[in-house]
């Protein structure tokens, strides 16, 4: 066994350990520890990714010396490693970019606890990405919920606590349905490891037994994870949570926490239930319908918002709709498009959230869109990077969002029943995106007389947003190469 194969497991345990460590050290030390940890995760996932690409197959890593049907396992393939790399890098940049705000908004004696929560969140994200065991996935889903709630309530205002409570309630409903799905799966298959469940599922599907419970399982898991990732009718917690959270938290919530559940759903469809079984099921059409509604309603809500952060939050809901629509298309192409959009959205949305904070700072922290007039002149780097993020969200060529919209449109062509609705909704949603994002871009660049006060948001902020903007453009330019890896990664899933 190669040493590299240990790294996913080390990464998860190191994140848990650093989280505990951060709770007892000084805030500066906690910050440095978290950056070190995230740097380690980025390097480790690149190493594992290179290893997997070189060997051409995924590997499983046995934990606790119990072999396959009994023990617990970690599994790493191209898609997992790339997601781990991308999510840890995004989290690092989000924390670096919002660093100043964390110090302002969190009580000074409790900053280290913010980083504790960030480390725990990272460990749960990595565990959800790598795990090969369904019950482990449930446990880390709960850890994810608790640490995300911790990140939301860092401000001392009553609003933040109320938002965290609302988030917890919605999340608990989601994870209960997810757990019910796991229990039923265990009940009819007798396994908890994903590979074993898949074999049993395929046998059940072939013999036609338990057709109803299998539908129930797909429904429970889809709806459970959809509630947790804020699909449209279940989105009510999201705007409140964003309204009161710190910028880093907002970026992490939108780009990572919600998306890791969608990653888990894709993983469950491929690795637990099996793609053939899922394709035959009508639940996919429900997901598709919800996705379509979310694409429109998220954008319409965003259009009506006057607060820029809330507007971006509602735009996230629309973007999650794209991903669920892609999954709901029920074809391999739709799934690939959805998988790519995970990354396109994560890079664009984290960038927009962080850059928005720079713009609002240039204006004394006023987040109303009306008040942002001309702020790009005062804080040029935030202006440019916000524009990059906005262009990506709208789907302008050479930015990541364009590639994913193109992918969705191509994927739609392969599902004859859904082609018209998908293309029309994509067009309407793109127009709405363009209206509300370009409205902001025009406003921040509208001429003002007093261009003098150039706000320096600090080196960390500039570095983070620049790297994120370059990353987004790179994803847009080399989209087809990334797509190839995603396709081979999804093949490894199956």
């Amino acid at each position: 066994m190669d040493f590299v194969q240990n790294l996913p497991f080390f990464g998860i345990v190191a994140a848990l350990f650093f989280g505990v460590l951060c709770s007892v050290v000084h805030r500066r030390a906690a910050e440095i520890l978290t950056y070190l940890l995230l740097g380690f995760e980025v390097v480790a996932s690149i190493l594992v990714l290179l290893f997997v690409i070189r060997t051409g197959t995924s590997f499983t890593y046995m934990m606790g010396h119990f072999p396959a049907p009994w023990g617990n396992e970690i599994r790493a393939g191209i898609f997992e490693c790339f997601t781990a790399f991308f999510f840890s890098a995004t989290m690092l940049l989000a924390l670096v970019g919002g660093r100043k705000h964390i110090y302002h908004e969190v009580e000074s004696t409790k900053v280290n606890l913010y980083y504790t929560m960030a480390c725990l969140l990272l460990s749960s994200i990595l565990a959800l990405i790598y795990t090969n065991d369904l019950f482990t996935a449930y446990v880390f889903v709960e850890i994810n919920t608790l640490s995300a709630a911790g990140l939301i309530m860092t401000k001392r205002s009553g609003k933040a606590i109320a938002a965290a409570t609302k988030y917890m309630v919605m999340s608990l409903l989601g994870s209960a349905l997810f757990l019910m799905g796991i229990c039923t799966t265990y009940d009819i298959t007798g396994h908890l490891l994903m590979s074993n469940i898949k074999e049993a599922m395929a046998a059940l599907h072939a013999s036609g037994q338990y057709a109803v419970p299998i539908s129930v399982i797909i429904g429970l898991m889809s709806i459970g994870l959809a509630i947790k990732s804020a699909l449209y009718p279940f989105h009510t917690w999201l705007p409140d949570a964003h309204g009161s959270a710190s910028v880093s938290t907002s970026a992490i919530l939108s780009a990572l926490v919600s998306e890791v559940y969608m990653f888990l759903l894709i993983k469950i469809f491929y690795r637990v239930i099996g793609w053939d079984v899922v394709q035959d099921n009508k639940i996919m059409n429900v997901l598709y319908l919800f996705g379509i509604i979310a694409m429109l309603m998220g954008s319409i809500h965003a259009l009506r918002e006057s607060d820029i952060k809330q507007m971006i939050a509602y735009s996230s809901i629309a973007q999650f709709g794209y991903i669920f629509m892609g999954i709901g298309l029920g074809t391999a192409f739709g799934m690939q498009a959805a998988a790519f959009h995970l990354f396109a959205h994560a890079s664009g949305k984290a960038l927009v959230f962080i850059a928005q904070a720079g713009l609002a700072d240039a204006n004394g922290g006023d987040r109303r869109i009306v008040a942002l007039k001309g702020t790009a002149h005062k804080n040029p780097i935030a202006g440019i990077t916000f524009t990059v993020g906005a262009f990506s969200m709208v789907g302008i060529p050479f930015f990541a969002g364009f590639i994913s919209k193109y992918n969705f449109a191509t994927a739609a062509l392969y599902s004859p029943n859904k082609i018209v609705i998908t293309l029309v909704t994509l067009a309407i949603s793109t127009v709405l995106n363009a209206i509300y994002f370009l409205r902001v871009v025009l406003r921040i660049y509208s001429p003002i007389e007093d261009k003098k006060p150039v706000i320096r948001s600090g080196f960390a902020f500039g570095l983070a947003v620049t790297v994120m903007a370059i990353g987004n453009i790179a994803l847009g330019v080399f989209g087809s190469n990334v797509m190839e890896y995603i396709i081979s990664g999804l093949k490894m899933f199956g």
Partner: protein, 125 residues
């Protein structure tokens, strides 16, 4: 219909789960919401435990040197229930502490009223 009575534990479990789920979702009182959450999880544990039980066998603890597999029930659901209890205890603790914070600030347990007043007061302390 007969199936419901043959699987009495599972039926009960799902009813308890449903009561808890609706309470957590619809009740406005925070404490009742938390009680609902605990009921929901209890329903789930009952479901799991009943699935692991096999009529006429013993708890999976080796006594008198009997190591035959057929003598004992399936221990894995019990392990899962234990893990689940740990999770639900910690979640209840967090929810209760949030409720205490909210009650100290707003002097009410009604989540709708709390949300309304939180929105009005805005971002300040």
């Amino acid at each position: 219909m007969i199936g419901l009575f043959n699987n009495l534990e599972a039926t009960t479990a799902i009813i308890v789960f449903g009561i808890g789920f609706t309470t957590l979702m619809l009740n406005r009182n925070m404490i009742k919401k938390i009680i609902g959450f605990d009921m929901m999880d209890c329903g789930m544990y009952l479901f799991l435990a009943s699935k692991g039980y096999i009529e006429g066998r013993l708890a999976p603890i080796v006594v008198n040197g009997v190591t035959d597999m057929d003598a004992y029930i399936n221990p894995i659901p019990a392990g899962l229930v234990l893990t689940g209890i740990v999770v639900s205890v910690s979640v209840s603790a967090v929810m209760l502490s949030l409720t205490i914070r909210l009650y100290r600030k707003y002097h009410t347990l009604d989540i709708d009223e709390i949300m309304m007043r939180a929105r009005e007061e805005g971002d300040d302390e």
